[in-house]
């Protein structure tokens, strides 16, 4: 049980952060369908950064620092990459869905191209990480404590530093969008940009802000995904996590609390697909791997989160309420 919750948390974190990324862009009025692409790009830059840093002896022995710097680089590169979207959507007033799709096609192409050209491989591998004495160390774990209180161990055994940072960012940004001046203005731009402009708010600036925050979060999320979920491998894909995050954002009705619930739910399903054969209950002293014993193919469990997305969206779309002005280029003259 504890194991399941631990794993669920690991899957939840990237979804949570990337869904929040989607929320920030859309609340400012820009549809960010490029989350998946930005994740891929962020993951690639993060992994690249980690590998380059390890060429310096100092960083080889300071694993956590490497991890955190790579995370920051992933966020910055995600933000920069998202400028392609915001520039086309805000300055050039291009169709945002098409712009986002272009980024989604561009990102894996760039990532794979550079991986092949410079590393002659199909993926970048951040783990196993070894210290200067050649001993393999866990990459990214802050705490390893097997003898911990079971409840606390959900959070504090084999915990990644990114989990805490992500949770802190999530709470911080949730507060920001509801309790601050900037948040209020950002939300106004996604609902009624003309109203915002009439009280002197610079709509385009707020939209750049929303998309850039979104890009940073998605890049960060992409890195967290490969570092914690995908065995430290950056390839040209993130298993559609970006789109899953979009679905979570819609499920969560563009609100942080809903997004948190959605991320937890889908994180659980996604995790189930990976660890179903390790789940066991102990009855009469005998361990039973109940899901494994069902003898269903692995693909069945892998499929669950995506089928769930379809079902959940079909049933919740009626009450979902997107920001009214999202996807519409801001035009000063329009009323």
């Amino acid at each position: 049980m504890i194991f399941l919750l631990q794993k669920t948390l690991i899957f939840t974190i990237p979804l949570l952060i990337v869904a929040l990324a989607g929320m920030y862009a859309e609340r400012s009025g820009i549809i960010n369908i490029a989350l998946d692409g930005i994740m891929i790009f962020g993951a690639f830059s993060g992994a690249l950064c980690a590998l380059l840093l390890r060429r310096t002896p100092f960083f080889v022995d300071h694993n956590q620092l490497t991890f955190v710097i790579a995370m920051a680089v992933a966020a910055v590169s995600g933000a920069l990459f998202s400028l392609l979207l915001s520039f086309s959507a805000i300055k050039l007033k291009a169709d945002q869905t098409i712009g986002g799709t272009a980024l989604n096609m561009l990102a894996p192409a760039i990532a794979l191209f550079f991986i092949k050209v410079f590393f002659f491989k199909d993926q970048l591998e951040m783990v196993p990480a070894a210290n200067s004495e050649g001993k393999v160390v866990d990459f990214g774990y802050v705490i390893q404590n097997k003898d911990m209180n079971p409840v606390l161990s959900i959070f504090f055994d084999k915990a990644y530093i990114s989990t805490f940072i992500a949770l802190a960012i999530f709470i911080l940004l949730s507060v920001l969008i509801y309790k601050t001046k900037t948040g209020l203005r950002l939300r106004a731009c996604g609902e009624h940009p003309q109203a915002a402009a009439s009280v002197g708010i610079e709509v385009n600036r707020m939209r750049y802000l929303g998309t850039t925050v979104s890009g940073a979060l998605a890049g960060f999320g992409g890195y967290v995904y490969i570092a914690t979920v995908a065995n430290g491998q950056a390839t040209g894909a993130v298993a559609g996590m970006g789109f899953l995050a979009l679905a979570i954002m819609i499920f969560g009705n563009w609100k942080p609390l809903g997004i948190a619930l959605g991320a937890l739910f889908f994180g659980f399903l996604k995790c189930l697909g990976v660890i179903y054969d390790q789940l066991s209950v102990t009855i009469n002293g005998k361990e039973i791997y109940f899901l494994k014993e069902l003898n269903l193919p692995m693909y069945f469990y892998n499929l669950i989160p995506y089928v769930a997305v379809l079902l959940v969206l079909a049933f919740t779309s009626k009450r979902s309420r997107a920001p009214k002005a999202e996807g519409i280029p801001y035009d000063k003259g329009m009323r």
Binding site: K181, L184, R185, A188, E191, H192, A196, A197, I201, K324
Partner: protein
């Protein structure tokens, strides 16, 4: 009127001198001067497209003028954006409210000038100030309600509070009464007088003469982008204002002969329609007849089933079982919309943007929306563009539809009055036995209203049956030959316009009275 509040010796609160604003192809403001005294209610009158909104947008910093100067309290100022205007104490209630639907009233009021510490909102403080202002000026609002849940009247009060919250001294109201019910209008007038009494200077944009006569101290008239003059309301009359505005005398009463009702054209039996919003019956068992050569008017307060009633007639809404709509003796209840269109129904819809025009099509394309499939306009599925062009030009000429590029003007770019003229041209030019006109003069100015009324009467005189749905009692009294009052989806009374009064109709519209067996029966 309390003239003491106006300070005539001090410099003007705002003075706009010789303002010229040019848009591609049109001079929207041509050398216009406007002088607003402190504490004055100053009306700005003009037809649609006369340049009122442009002038106010210049004052509010949304447009930069090509020529002219703006003075505030005697000092020259430049206003580059709404922030500048706000800093000078100029605030505006826009015709289309600039409110965020999903925000609370309070959030909307403070948006843009939020009190904050380190970026965090200080809402308590803001709420206190809003409540104080709300009490001081009698602007009743619920600060925690979402804007989408409150009435239009309260939305407007929110807009006014927005200006007061910013300590604005000069308040611009752009067509503030267009969206209000009569009671709300009365209330608004009281509020505006109160604001002026507190020393605020008010610019009141309108094309409704009655309102201007009632509330304003002075009135500046614009016509086709030019300055016509400024008059004291106490020294002028409605007739003078209207002739200044239109450039000719306007008749307020509709000229028409006695109705000569002949054959029954439309007969509605037991019509019931469900509302799309609350799924209950919005129209309940309505039966009525309209004969050729008469104008029957359905009067009522907005939202009493008129829209659903017309929707059922035109085919946009489904009727409940048991309803029957008979047109020229033929049951058309289940016929398609095109069938009705081609068998004698013309329809001037309530919402000209939603149901009247395809805004991104050109004028000529809109003109043939219901006819493009006729052999005259197509051959083997290909549109005969020359024919369409010629036809559209003919209609434009006949009905005086004004637009920038003639038949090629996108409908979106036309003024409201000309959009309506285009719809009327299209609907009246088709052979029709029945004309359904829903609020045909909504948002139009006096010149255009006169035109629309003339056309409707002409249609009647040529033998059509006319079913008019209107919320404007003045129009109901002037135009109709028979009045039916609709209240909560039922016909609660039938009247002869010559024998009834606005007050009597009002009682029935509000549901305070009803005639027994009113449906279909003649009232005595």
């Amino acid at each position: 009127m309390d003239k003491g509040r106006i300070n005539e010796s001090a410099p003007y609160a705002v003075e706009m001198r010789h303002i010229t604003k040019v848009f591609p192809g049109i001079v929207a403001n041509d050398d216009i001067t406007l002088q607003l005294r402190r504490g004055e209610i100053h009306a700005l009158l003009g037809e649609n497209g006369a340049g009122k909104s442009t002038l106010m947008s210049v004052l509010f910093g949304l447009y930069q003028p090509e020529g002219g100067e703006i003075y505030k309290d005697g000092e020259k100022v430049t206003i580059n954006d709404p922030n500048d205007a706000n800093a000078l104490g100029i605030g505006m209630v826009h015709q289309h409210f600039k409110l965020v639907d999903v925000f609370t009233v309070l959030d909307n009021i403070i948006l843009g000038t939020e009190p904050s510490t380190l970026g965090f909102l200080r809402k308590k403080e803001a709420r206190k100030k809003v409540m104080r202002l709300s009490e001081e000026y009698g602007l009743n609002v619920d600060p925690d309600a979402l804007v989408e849940d409150i009435t239009v009247g309260m939305q407007q009060r929110t807009e006014i509070l927005k200006m007061l919250y910013r300590d604005n001294e000069i308040l611009i109201f752009d067509e503030p009464t267009a969206v209000l019910t009569p009671q709300e209008i009365t209330e608004l007038m009281g509020i505006i007088r109160g604001l002026a009494a507190e020393g605020k200077s008010i610019l009141f944009i309108s094309h409704k003469l009655n309102e201007i006569m009632e509330i304003a101290d002075r009135c500046t008239v614009l016509r086709k982008g030019k300055y016509v003059g400024t008059v004291n309301i106490s020294e002028t009359s409605k007739e003078e204002l209207s002739s200044m505005m239109v450039g000719r005398g306007v008749k307020f009463a509709v000229d028409k002969d006695e109705a000569k009702p002949a054959d029954t054209i439309l007969s509605i039996e037991h019509l019931s329609v469900k509302s799309r919003i609350h799924k209950k019956l919005a129209v309940k068992d309505v039966s009525l007849e309209v004969r050729s050569g008469e104008i029957v008017c359905i009067a009522g307060i907005d939202g009493n089933g008129q829209s659903e009633f017309v929707g059922a007639l035109s085919g946009l809404e489904k009727c409940e079982p048991g309803s029957r709509i008979v047109l020229n003796g033929e049951d058309v209840t289940k016929k398609s919309i095109r069938y009705k269109n081609t068998h004698g129904v013309s329809h001037i819809p309530e919402d000209r943007h939603k149901h009247g025009l395809i805004l991104d099509y050109t004028l000529e394309q809109n003109m043939v929306l219901q006819r493009y499939f006729e052999p005259r306009f197509q051959h083997g599925g290909f549109i005969k563009f020359d024919e369409v062009r010629g036809y559209a030009e003919g209609l434009i000429d006949k009905y005086d539809v004004r637009s920038g590029q003639g038949p090629l003007t996108p409908a979106r770019g036309m003024s409201g009055g000309n959009q309506q003229k285009a719809i009327i041209a299209r609907e009246l030019d088709r052979d029709h036995d029945l004309l359904i006109a829903v609020q045909p003069t909504r948002g139009l100015d006096v010149g255009a209203i006169e035109f629309v009324h003339e056309q409707i009467v002409a249609s009647r005189d040529s033998g059509s049956a006319v079913l008019l749905v209107s919320l404007e009692l003045e129009e109901v009294m002037n135009l109709s030959d028979r009045i039916l009052v609709m209240y909560e989806g039922e016909i609660v009374g039938e009247f002869d316009p010559k024998k009834t009064t606005v007050q009597e109709l009002g009682l029935y519209m509000a549901g305070a009275k009803r005639q027994n067996g009113a449906e279909g029966g003649e009232a005595e």
